[in-house]
């Protein structure tokens, strides 16, 4: 997994609440058996018109946001399905960090597995960052995972909370499966016990 340490980038504002996984990556693109190449279809139904041409009103089609690396989004981002294609598409587009007041549980976990940092901040601070993001390419937002801070283009800094284990994995680009394999003895012991106490499992 790619490491995430610091990021200084353009942030795209998406104030809509409840942006769901069908909006992030519609199901027609779930038929892939690969993880890569989904960025071109990120937010497909909002990003492209019925004839396949770009919708110039959509934020990521505007010249100042085409290189966005951060997304500032409305409440409950990523609700809906468990499809990891959602963070795969976000990452493939080039976005490495999402900032919102809240996320759906499965989407939130999926981000960490893919080197994307989902930051939770209170509404008032997300509002400040949303305004900052609206300045376009003149405003670069800085994210520092080690220090757990987000800094606006005006130099205002907010601290965020992040689970210590998830932070450790993201900072070091660690593979979860490898880490768990190191605890194989605990799993073996659990299974032995289970076979006696719950043989029907």
């Amino acid at each position: 997994m790619d490491k995430f340490e610091k990021l200084s980038g353009i942030a795209a504002p998406m104030p809509l609440i409840n942006i769901d996984t069908d909006m992030i990556i519609p199901k027609v693109f779930l038929k892939t058996i690969k993880r890569s190449g989904l960025g071109v279809n990120l937010f497909d139904e909002m990003r492209y018109l019925d004839d396949g041409s770009e919708n110039s009103d959509f934020v990521l089609n505007k010249p100042q946001y085409r290189e966005a690396e951060i997304l500032v989004a409305g409440d409950n981002f990523g609700c809906g399905s468990s499809r990891e294609h959602a963070p795969w598409a976000i990452k493939d587009f080039g976005i490495r960090c999402v900032i919102s007041t809240s996320y759906a549980d499965i989407f939130f976990n999926n981000c960490f597995k893919n080197g994307i940092l989902p930051i939770v901040l209170p509404k008032a601070q997300v509002d400040v960052l949303m305004k900052d993001a609206e300045k376009g390419s003149n405003a670069r937002i800085e994210v520092d995972l080690e220090a757990q801070t987000v800094t606006t283009s005006d130099g205002e800094t907010f601290s965020f909370e992040v689970d210590a284990f998830k932070k450790h994995c993201l900072l070091n680009g660690l593979d979860d499966i490898g880490l768990t394999m190191e605890k194989a003895a605990s799993i073996d012991a659990y299974e032995s016990k289970l076979q006696v106490s719950h043989p029907w499992v």
Binding site: D22, K27, I33, D75, Y103, N109, N110, F165, D176, I187
Partner: protein
């Protein structure tokens, strides 16, 4: 004496294989369900790292999302990408030696219907699947939730998940439901009351007289949509109905093993005085037959209401509601029963079981669907389909003008050819009304099977109580 525990606490504690100092746990997984959409990258990951499936005997796969549901599906899948995904699952199941119900097997169906039907899902278990509607299995008092593909790979390789415990939430439905009101109306009404993020960070335990009164199938409908309320999982304590449902199923324990299991299952309830971090209570008698009007499952109203205005809402919901109304092509103030529909879809892991088909057939018996209406029933599994044929339900549907399909996810998410055209309006028994969910530009109204059947007859959203 130990502190009183919730049902969730008990199942959690019984599955912790390792706990780190910061509370991060390795949770042991008893059943891993797999379908073709969210698994190919996980199996590929195993191959690339030379890993095996740790517990193939606890891993069950079935293709459901992409499979055609038309009667000619034995000829194969036309769409090359869908075909490749299903073929990949065929190969992965064989290569890694996991249980498999291929498209040609009569037991094939939606993974969340097949699991309980075959007795894979049992009380007290942990059940995961790369699919958010895994919450369905919570109806058995199993801790069941959706996971992403990286976690699918993690479970395949280690039979565990890296987890931190969620908080406890109680949703109590007191009293008795009124006639015409179903499990679907309960679960939609709860989401209407709490919002789609109301359960975020929680595992919900549904309880109360109205929940106890539900059949196992109704309980599955309720738990299925726990995810739509944002919860990690929904649970219902097992009882005699649960045990009766499980007994005799192909993969349920038998003989002495059944007795041991039963004794354990009877300990799976929330202790008196256990702590819940959040409590929501609804009176069953206040719940009406409901439909959704917007593009979020929280956009729920009784069928007797009218289309709201965006100004009825506050905060970010004002813009979201305006966008929904525009997308849905609705004008505020219109009575919901004036909304004409083009298509009816009965099926999905929410409402594709035999009781759902019975409820719809009861309304449709001796009646015809509205001229020009497209209507289809997609049974949740091949066995549900066979039973419905045996009970004469299939004939009722066909005589009414419904298409009688083979099992699969179908138009719930439209990954197979069953899709809405732009602007087409559908009365659906599925679980999501998101923009484009049933096809780009398609408009979805969620409701119970009986309500969907009523809409098929009148051609409009309809209060089922008026034609019962």
């Amino acid at each position: 004496m130990t502190a009183p525990k919730t049902l969730y606490d008990k199942i959690w504690d019984a599955h912790v294989a390792h706990e780190a100092e910061d509370g991060t746990c390795l949770l042991y997984i008893d059943r891993h369900l797999v379908h073709e959409v969210t698994s190919p990258q996980a199996f590929e990951g195993l191959r690339m790292s030379g890993r095996k499936v740790r517990a193939p005997e606890k891993t069950i796969a079935v293709p459901d999302h992409n499979v055609p549901t038309t009667l000619d599906r034995a000829k194969g899948i036309d769409n090359p990408e869908s075909r490749i995904q299903v073929e990949a699952l065929d190969k992965n199941a064989a290569d890694f030696g996991i249980h498999y119900y291929p498209v040609s097997d009569v037991r094939q169906g939606i993974v969340h219907i097949v699991g309980p039907e075959q007795g894979w899902t049992l009380p007290g278990m942990t059940v995961v699947c790369g699919d958010s509607h895994t919450a369905t299995h919570g109806a058995f008092g199993a801790l069941a939730h959706g996971i992403g593909t990286s976690e699918v790979e993690h479970v395949l390789a280690t039979q565990t998940l890296i987890q931190k415990k969620s908080k406890n939430m109680k949703v109590e439905i007191t009293g008795k439901l009124r006639p015409g009101v179903t499990a679907k109306d309960i679960t939609l009404s709860v989401i209407g009351a709490t919002g789609t993020a109301g359960g975020t960070g929680y595992v919900i335990e549904y309880c109360g007289e109205a929940i106890r009164d539900l059949s196992m199938e109704g309980r599955m409908t309720v738990c299925n949509m726990a995810i739509e309320g944002g919860a990690r999982a929904g649970l219902i304590a097992p009882d005699e109905k649960t045990f009766a449902y499980c007994q005799g199923r192909p993969h349920a324990p038998k003989g002495a093993s059944w007795e041991t299991a039963l004794a354990y299952w009877k300990s799976l309830f929330t202790d008196e005085g256990a702590h819940f971090d959040k409590v929501v209570t609804l009176k069953a008698e206040d719940i009406a037959p409901v439909v959704t009007w917007g593009t979020s499952p929280e956009d729920v109203l009784p069928i007797t209401a009218s289309v709201p205005a965006s100004s009825d809402f506050e905060g970010g919901k004002v813009d979201a509601a305006a966008r929904s109304l525009d997308y849905m092509g609705l004008t505020s103030g219109t009575p919901l029963t004036d909304i004409a529909i083009d298509t009816v879809f009965i099926g999905s892991c929410t409402n594709g079981r035999i009781e759902d088909l019975r409820a719809a057939a009861e309304i449709l018996k001796g009646k015809k669907i509205k001229d020009g209406m497209r209507a289809m029933v997609v049974p949740g599994s091949g066995l549900v389909r066979a039973q419905a044929e045996e009970e004469g339900l299939a004939d009722i549907f066909k005589e009414a003008g419904f298409e009688w399909r083979l099992a699969g996810c179908s138009m719930c998410l439209a990954m197979n050819p069953d899709q809405l055209a732009p602007g087409e309006r559908c009365a659906a028994t599925s679980n999501r009304n998101f923009e484009g969910r049933q096809g780009r530009g398609g408009r979805t109204h969620l409701m119970s099977p009986a309500m969907a059947a009523a809409a098929a007859i009148t051609g409009k959203l309809t209060d089922v109580r008026e034609i019962m």
